[in-house]
């Protein structure tokens, strides 16, 4: 078998450059295995973030040949064998060092989500049907790799939007809560006014990179947009909901404000 040639971006917030590493190819390896071999030999200080190495924790996101991927789930034999592989940190976030980016934007967004708020638990526990929990379960498969955030044009190409745009990962979180059979908070105004849902123009880049194959655009963002529009512009629907459904408390006031 031929050797593996890997160009890895090395540097920090002050700049950096590519370094090339050549290693013998080993059967069955993923990109993260190659990084580990580089660390154990040529570059012991090569920074990369990882944990489970099984596609379950979402720590090792990076850009492989310009595309966001989990390094632990990208098999070397799925990449062109005769080409140099280029590894860079996720571009939409500030770099810490080498392949590690500062993803704190996402943790700040998480703090802005108004909490789940169920009614008091009845005797014997809550009852929910499988079909009703399944919609939320799809979104709760999210492993928070933040690759959908990385690839989303609204923030990837416009740093200034980060103040007013939650991003796909948090749109699925809002959708999950909105569709949760027990939740009583109404976050629709918040999502429209402060979280920038309207800025998403449904290019589906997020869905394409999701390692959990969550249909972010079709199953979360579009239904969320519809519900938000209903809440804002349709007085009949609004009145109907007031009468027929349990009331949802507006979360705009109670939420931690984005800025």
């Amino acid at each position: 078998m031929s050797d593996v040639v890997m160009r890895v971006w090395r540097g920090d917030k002050d700049g950096g450059e590519f370094e090339e590493y050549t290693l013998p190819r080993v059967e069955g390896e993923v990109v993260l295995d190659v990084i580990h071999r580089i660390q154990a030999t040529e570059a012991p200080d090569l920074a990369c973030r990882w944990n489970c190495k099984a596609g379950k924790c979402g720590s090792c996101s990076a850009e492989i040949n310009g595309k966001p991927r989990l390094m632990c789930m990208t098999r070397m034999d799925t990449l062109p064998e005769d080409e140099t592989i280029t590894l860079t940190p996720m571009r939409a976030f500030p770099v810490i060092r080498d392949l590690v980016s500062d993803v704190s934007f996402n943790f700040e967004q998480a703090r802005k989500v108004p909490a789940f708020n169920p009614p008091p638990e009845p005797e014997g526990g809550y009852r929910m049907s499988q079909i009703d929990v399944e919609r939320g379960q799809e979104f709760r498969k999210c492993i928070e790799c933040f690759m959908c955030q990385d690839v989303c044009h609204v923030i990837r190409d416009h740093e200034e939007n980060k103040d007013r745009y939650a991003g796909p990962r948090f749109f699925i979180r809002y959708a999950e809560l909105e569709m949760h059979p027990l939740d009583t908070n109404d976050r629709r105004e918040l999502v429209r006014e402060k979280m920038g849902l309207g800025m998403c123009n449904i290019t589906k880049c997020c869905t394409e990179v999701c390692p959990e194959h969550i249909k972010i655009t079709d199953n979360a963002i579009i239904p969320l947009k519809e519900r938000v529009v209903d809440a804002s512009y349709d007085p009949v629907a609004w009145l109907g909901r007031k009468i027929l459904r349990r009331s949802k408390r507006s979360a705009v006031e109670s939420a931690i404000q984005p800025d």
């Binding site: 069955g28 489970c52 596609g55 789940f116 014997g124 928070e144």
Partner: protein, 606 residues
């Protein structure tokens, strides 16, 4: 020298997996100042890897189930080495802890009448595991994480604790840590500290554990004066991936077997029928027909032998491979493809489907998986007071995998997530009570001591040439796999202890390259002292316990010794804490179970 970053809290929780998050939530609910300190990003802890479910006798699928049967199953699974009080609290409180998760937003799979669905698992008499497909751990950590965030708990992410600090009176006063992104140090003053740092699996070559499982909590607790019990009891999960080599050890959930998967050797035989120990014979099926009837109706047949406790299954697989009846890559076959329709497999076991498809190119709906034992969990750990999680060091508490006693010599699947919730909460309560009773100001830290811990951690930067931390880690993993693996013997354990002394000496000569900011070589150098300490404890315990029981299998002592079944092996560092310091081991009598709990076993034996 620039001023050291310092923070004061009432309660510090080290580790942000299930136990740490649950403890922090409890302390925060009491109105205390609480911080979570974790080595990785929030939500990435090893809890996300738990697949099958959380065990709780809710009786949603089988009304006959109750805490007493769960208690009995847990004790029998642990070969009676468990602390009875922990097993009791665990069985009694886990249903409430699961319901509580639901009130915090968790979405478990449902029964037809809308209750939480429960699945079968090894060693549990009834279908008892609340679950979400095969990603229950993710659901649990995300729910707790979102709850903690909504309560505004301070989180110090990618912040590695290197030492606990104690005062002259022996009480815990705080901790010293460094930020991984910058390499800068930070000290914490605290009235009480909860350790929830998880396990030790990274010291073995083939493990289901992530890089974080280096036994930091076990080690810093021991260095601070706490005692560890039964460290020899290490669980090798029967089903890890074996091929490709680079993914060897990654977990294959027991849910595969709970949902109908069977183990076969290279001759196509369901070999587990030949390995049923006397203790389990009365409730295990004798034929394939009987076993297959059981899946649909637990009263129509007895349990399949594939669902014996993990230690039994792991040893059986090991024997089959040794006898030359293994699969091409040194495991055995786990077959669900021929037993369940493809759509059921994809629905019930979605992550397993993807894991095999993407990492091994195997479609588990069409072909069997190749699996073999992988280092998974340590039952031993910090000795704690069951009701509060208090350790021997005043102000120091422990919960979850880092704590010992709950699981005896072998943990049942599903009992880990429930352990995290039950004892995470209890340690949070214990630490809060302690912090409140301590009152006054947060204790100040001995500056000289703090500086000595910082110097100790920075020492690998002091030399240009020396031991490579990666090489040392590799050698340690190879050695532990070979000498302190699933089957152990005196000569190999003696050799292991000699090797460990050699590794410890080499660890004092580690040299790291580069700067302090996000430097994995240095980070590993600071993990190695913990790994060497816990590896030594496991080897020492394994040598002392001259019997086979649960996660301790001795080739030279193949039977269980009833006398040793009443003994905990306790390890301490009486003459000073540190990875180079001597560790003493001594037998101590196991707490005696009260008669009313003993009666549960007599009832079952009738």
């Amino acid at each position: 020298m620039s001023e050291l970053e310092h923070h004061d809290y009432d309660v510090i929780v080290i580790g942000a997996g299930g136990a740490g998050l649950r403890a922090a939530i409890e302390a925060k609910q009491r109105g205390l100042r609480v911080a979570l300190v974790c080595k990785s990003l929030l939500g990435k802890a090893h809890t996300v890897m738990a697949e099958g479910g959380v065990a709780a006798a809710m009786g949603n699928v089988y009304e006959e189930d109750n805490w007493k049967i769960h208690f009995r199953d847990t004790m029998r699974g642990g070969k009676m080495l468990n602390h009875w009080r922990m097993a009791q609290l665990h069985a009694q409180e886990s249903p409430d802890r699961v319901h509580e998760l639901e009130a915090w937003g968790a979405l478990f799979d449902r029964t037809k009448d809308g209750k939480i669905l429960q699945r079968d698992f090894g060693g549990h008499r009834y279908a008892r595991l609340a679950h979400v497909g095969d990603r229950t751990g993710l659901e649990l950590i995300r729910t707790l994480q979102q709850k903690a965030v909504s309560m505004d708990i301070d989180v110090f992410m990618e912040c590695k604790v290197v030492r606990l600090v104690t005062g002259d009176d022996g009480q815990v006063t705080g901790a010293v840590a460094y930020w991984r992104p910058t390499g800068e140090f930070v000290s914490f003053g605290a009235k009480a500290i909860v350790l929830a740092t998880g396990g030790v699996g990274k010291s073995w070559k083939y493990t289901s554990n992530s890089w974080e499982s280096t036994g930091d909590g076990h080690a810093v607790a021991m260095w601070a004066g706490a005692s560890l019990i039964d460290m020899e009891c290490v669980q090798f999960h029967p089903t890890g991936m074996v091929w490709p080599l680079s993914v060897r050890g990654i977990l294959v959930t027991e849910g595969v077997r709970g949902d109908g998967g069977v183990l076969r050797n290279s001759e196509g035989n369901r070999f587990m029928f030949g390995y049923v120990a006397d203790m389990f014979r009365a409730e295990t099926a004798e034929s394939e027909d009987e076993a297959d009837r059981w899946y649909d109706d637990h009263t129509a047949g007895r349990r399949p032998p594939e669902l014996l406790p993990r230690d039994e299954v792991a040893r059986s697989i090991n024997s089959e491979v040794k006898a030359g009846r293994g699969s091409p890559h040194g495991g055995v076959f786990l077959d669900i493809a021929s037993r369940r329709p493809a759509e059921v497999i994809r629905k019930r076991l979605p992550s397993m489907y993807h894991q095999f498809m993407e990492l091994a190119g195997v479609d588990i709906t069409r072909e069997p998986m190749e699996v073999g034992p992988t280092c998974h969990y340590i039952m031993g750990g910090v000795q704690v007071e069951p009701d509060t999680g208090a350790t021997a060091v005043p102000g120091l508490f422990a919960a979850g995998e880092v704590a010992g006693g709950m699981h005896g010599s072998n943990r049942l699947g599903g009992n880990s997530l429930s352990d995290l919730l039950v004892f995470g909460r209890r340690a949070g309560m214990g630490a809060s009570d302690f912090a409140e009773a301590r009152g006054g100001d947060v204790p100040s830290l001995d500056a000289t001591l703090v500086q000595s811990y910082i110097d100790e951690a920075l020492e690998p930067f002091s030399r240009d040439e020396g031991e490579n931390p990666y090489e040392l880690q590799n050698e340690l993993q190879e050695m532990m796999q070979t000498n302190v693996g699933i089957i152990r013997t005196a000569s190999e354990l003696d050799e292991a202890l000699v090797k460990l002394d050699e590794f410890k000496e080499r660890a004092t000569r580690i040299a790291v390259k580069g700067g302090r900011a996000y430097n994995p070589g240095w980070n590993l150098a600071t993990d190695l002292p913990s790994m060497l300490t816990v590896s030594t404890c496991v080897a020492l315990g394994a040598r002392e316990r001259k019997e086979s029981r649960g996660g301790q299998t001795r080739e030279d002592f193949p039977a269980a010794d009833p006398e040793l079944g009443k003994i905990n092996f306790v390890q301490r560092q009486p003459s000073g804490g540190g990875f180079s310091e001597e560790i003493k081991i001594s037998p101590e009598a196991l707490p005696v179970m009260p008669d009313e709990l003993m009666a549960i076993f007599e009832e079952a034996n009738k």
